[in-house]
Symmetry: C2
């Protein structure tokens, strides 16, 4: 009997996995069938999210981490998945050259599977596509899976935060804007990393992060009572300094999640979000398919002439097309 | 007869405008009525989007620009609106302290209205909320309205790109990641600014942007035949150097948009997007309201046990709840 795409992916066929990911990125209607067949075999992979402002050296750090994890049979399956989410190019929709080059170091390694994601058009957006790619890698035996978000916006931060463990990477002494953005990033971090620790400002940055965390911990203890103390680590990704300590901290958090019930909670949030995204997109798509384009255009003329507000137009459309 | 909120906003009552914006941010059900009443008086304001990576000095540049435009009766109404979109804090949902401080310079100026937006929960998201705030300022006589996006992600870039004219700000010699992100930002720029021009690397950065643009122009001529040549300007926002030239270029683009029909096209895109966002959100909200939470939870248990895939769950929910 011929093997299905799902069978081949589970057996470790990299080409079959790559093809499925392309279908997911293009929102090809055939991908869901394969995903449905793979889904029973998912749920094993530990998903690690890495985010941080541009210039903090995330990609280089991910390279170090993947190399270290691959060797580490205690922690990993020996097969590491990396998804680099890069939606910074809103029009070309292609992954950026820079990352392709950086990642080349691993592309010949059969135990590391790297994929850059830059799709935006997919039903449910890039968060849903990333989630599906992670599930596919999971079924193919990749564990852990690292999701690196290259941008520094809200969407990118939210994607990284869907992981079991979220690592926020900072660089020493960045500008004013970045300083401010830290406030937001700190709230999602399970582990904080000050990269480029060879920089003389690294100790200051780490100390200031520790102070911000201490302040946050006080507030947190009162409301949630979480028992995980967010560590601040220093790394230098250029020569992979500090990576062993980082790996250890990551797997401390892994243990913490299992002991505290956080692991299941994390999966529940991620899967509910995925279902809601699918529903939101399907409802709109179904609705659009039965929309009369002529009456929509006529309404748009009235909106352009400031006779009907966008809100009124939406109300009219909802009434006439249900 | 008592004045309505819409009347007061049109008469220049800043407090009434501030209250409406708070309603928009909180997605309070009463805001749409006011927006509907204001909508016939919108369509005058020139909307200028400013985006760029963190650390490029966007906020300081916006301050310079607002000061220059306010004096310039040829171009502006004398009343300038500024919306700083800052969704970098996914959990606190509050605007960041840093920007509040930076903006303090203008808060006592009755002809500049500044608002930081960080709401995420609003129906249709922050893009829709920003759009509504711009419409409200427009009806109140603010022209131009500057939308500054503080983050550097896809969502932020898209918000800035909804403006009539999009300015992308770069700083000289930023890191690798930022370099790569330029590729995406370049595609949406009508005007490019290298800020911090006192930095010795500014000329190099400007020259490299010119080269990238020349390459892009070649491709563009073939496909779209746009006649706008994207200028690269140098500014130093610390002492507002180069701002007069920037203002002139901005209003050259303003003229170009009116001559080429680009202005209406831009409004059409923005308003259609707003209507679609409203529809998408309303459809999902209506659907959720009639959802049986018990059957949803039962289904989630099956998804968590890997018996039903998220896609299958969405299909089941769509079938049973229409």
């Amino acid at each position: 009997m011929a093997l299905t795409a799902a069978d081949r992916i589970r057996e470790g066929d990299r080409l079959a996995l790559a093809r499925l990911i392309t279908l997911i990125e293009n929102d090809d209607e055939n991908y869901q069938e394969v995903m449905d067949a793979l889904y029973p075999y998912t749920g094993n992979a530990y998903i690690i999210g890495i985010t941080g402002p541009p210039g903090s050296g995330k990609s280089t750090l991910v390279n170090c981490l993947a190399k270290d994890l691959k060797k580490n049979a205690e922690y990993s399956s020996g097969k590491i998945g990396i998804i680099a989410v890069d939606p910074t190019s809103p029009f070309s929709g292609g992954a950026l050259l820079g990352d392709r080059i950086r990642m080349h170091a691993h592309t010949s390694d059969p135990n590391i599977f790297i994929r850059s994601m830059a799709s935006r058009g997919a039903l449910g957006g890039i968060a849903l596509a990333t989630d599906n790619v992670a599930l596919a890698m999971d079924a193919a035996g990749y564990d852990p899976i690292i999701i690196e978000t290259v941008g520094a916006g809200q969407a990118e931060v939210e994607i990284a935060n869907l992981a079991h463990t979220t690592i926020v990477v900072e660089a020493p002494g960045l500008g004013d804007d970045v300083q401010a953005a830290k406030a937001g990033l700190l709230e999602i971090a399970d582990i904080l990393v000050v990269n480029k620790s060879d920089n003389q400002k690294a100790d200051n940055t780490a100390a200031s992060l520790e102070r911000m965390l201490a302040l946050g911990e006080e507030l947190k203890e009162k409301s949630f009572g979480s028992h995980w103390k967010i560590p601040v680590l220093k790394t230098s990704a250029i020569d992979c300094t500090g990576i062993t300590e980082l790996t250890e901290k990551i797997y401390s958090h892994h243990r913490y999640l299992h002991e505290s019930g956080g692991w299941d909670k994390c999966d529940l949030v991620r899967l509910s979000k995925q279902i809601n995204e699918l529903l939101r997109a399907s409802l709109f798509k179904n609705w659009q398919e039965q929309l009369d384009q002529k009456s929509f255009n006529a309404l748009m003329v009235q909106v352009m002439h400031h006779q009907v507000s966008p809100h009124q137009a939406a109300q009219i459309l909802l009434k006439h097309n249900r």
